[in-house]
Symmetry: C2
Subunit: 251 residues, 2 copies
């Protein structure tokens, strides 16, 4: 993305960017994919511009695909960030200096930007984080140990997380985050990690079973001393149905 | 807004607009505020551009204020619309022709636009719909009888409505839509109108009471033959608390 800063400006929608909050679940941690660029001390969310002939959703898919090697996964627009003060001349100049772009040629980049936030939930083990250049670092970082981020990226990440927490009440979660076969305690741990609180075992079992998206397998988890827990899998058809119609019938 | 099409371009964020879906409740109808411009047969949502030195949320507040005369009311960003094909050369040219703006001077207006959708819930009786010019018509229209809309405004309206329905599970609704004193049947009717379905009277009473945002008044509705229903009011402090923390504790 940043290689295009000084040229090809007419190929992009002016003043508009995409930022992706990519969540993965591993080791009972909710991790987020972050990038350390060579021209800033702070880290950033993976992002990109919007090609003038591409839908914004397609531009978001491109960022996700380029940064993880993954396609066809759950990606959701959650908010657009457009405070005037989110723009930062110090940051802009650091980028231009790093790429040796004259101020005039970099005008397109230093204009005010509004950014559209998307979040994704992906299978940590299937993703292969991709650098854009050798000087970059790209890493999964526990969402509780996120370092200082550029611009308003900390607010974007916070909003993605709070949206995800709210959406746990509206849709099933887990399909892209857990192995194909899993135990109820594993699924509960995923919910507890996202919500950042302990859940009652029996309540969770009752609620999650009532949704009707789980298939109990005729196998138990191996390598467990005694009382091996049952293995489950998602009934993908029902899962997609609930994803579409919403979990909470509410009123 | 449209008077600025041919000039002052540098005063606005390029290729970005705001569209507001303004809902009001009256006569047991959920109404939406729509505009009929002189240069198109179709109707449109109230909208505007984003001043280069203003936050997007502020620009949305301005649209709402200019179109209804109201301030300080519930306004929520719900989605950003950025399909390439949402732009329509036929529409662009009709606007330029109407305002007698040469194609070259109107380039800023005919570029690709991405639009940020906001929805508002307002007190129908307090709003005073404002025209931008004499040739315009601005009207409250029942959401079930919306005429053909320009561009992707029908999709924007649909998305606002489906978001509002989902958010009924997450937050209390009614404060800006009902008179200060109201009956439970009035409140139920509001929910039924938004959800477009009948609700069970006793279930609704139980659920709405459990939220803890209602204060029962020591008055009954007058002008009712017998068994006059009790009047209620919102406990604004608790209402705001639930609005902030979310209605559904879920998991």
């Amino acid at each position: 993305m940043l290689k295009d800063i000084g040229e090809n400006n007419a190929n992009y929608q002016p003043g508009l960017s995409i930022d992706c909050v990519i969540f993965g679940f591993h080791d009972n941690q909710l991790k987020v994919l972050l990038i350390k660029t060579p021209y800033e001390d702070k880290w950033s969310l993976p992002g990109g511009f919007v090609p003038i002939d591409e839908d914004i959703d397609t531009a978001a898919v491109t960022v996700l695909n380029e940064r993880t090697g993954m396609k066809g996964i759950f990606l959701r627009q959650f908010a657009t960030f457009g405070q005037v003060k989110r723009n930062d001349k110090h940051f802009d100049n650091a980028v231009l200096d790093h790429f040796k772009i004259p101020r005039e040629a970099g005008k397109w980049f230093t204009q005010r930007f509004v950014t559209i936030g998307y979040y994704a939930l992906i299978d940590f083990l299937k993703a292969i984080p991709q650098k854009e250049n050798k000087q970059e670092i790209i890493e999964w970082i526990d969402h509780k140990e996120v370092p200082a981020l550029i611009l308003d990226h900390a607010a974007i990440l916070d909003k993605a997380l709070s949206t995800l927490r709210i959406e746990l009440n509206l849709m099933p979660v887990g399909y892209n985050l857990l192995p194909e076969k899993f135990t109820i305690p594993q699924l509960q741990k995923l919910y507890e990690t996202i919500l950042d609180k302990k859940l009652d075992r029996r309540n969770f079992l009752r609620k999650i079973t009532n949704i009707g998206i789980l298939t109990k397998l005729d196998e138990k988890k191996s390598n467990v001393a005694h009382k091996a827990p049952n293995l489950y899998t998602f009934d993908k058809e029902k899962y997609d149905e609930v994803l579409k119609n919403g979990l909470n019938q509410g009123w």
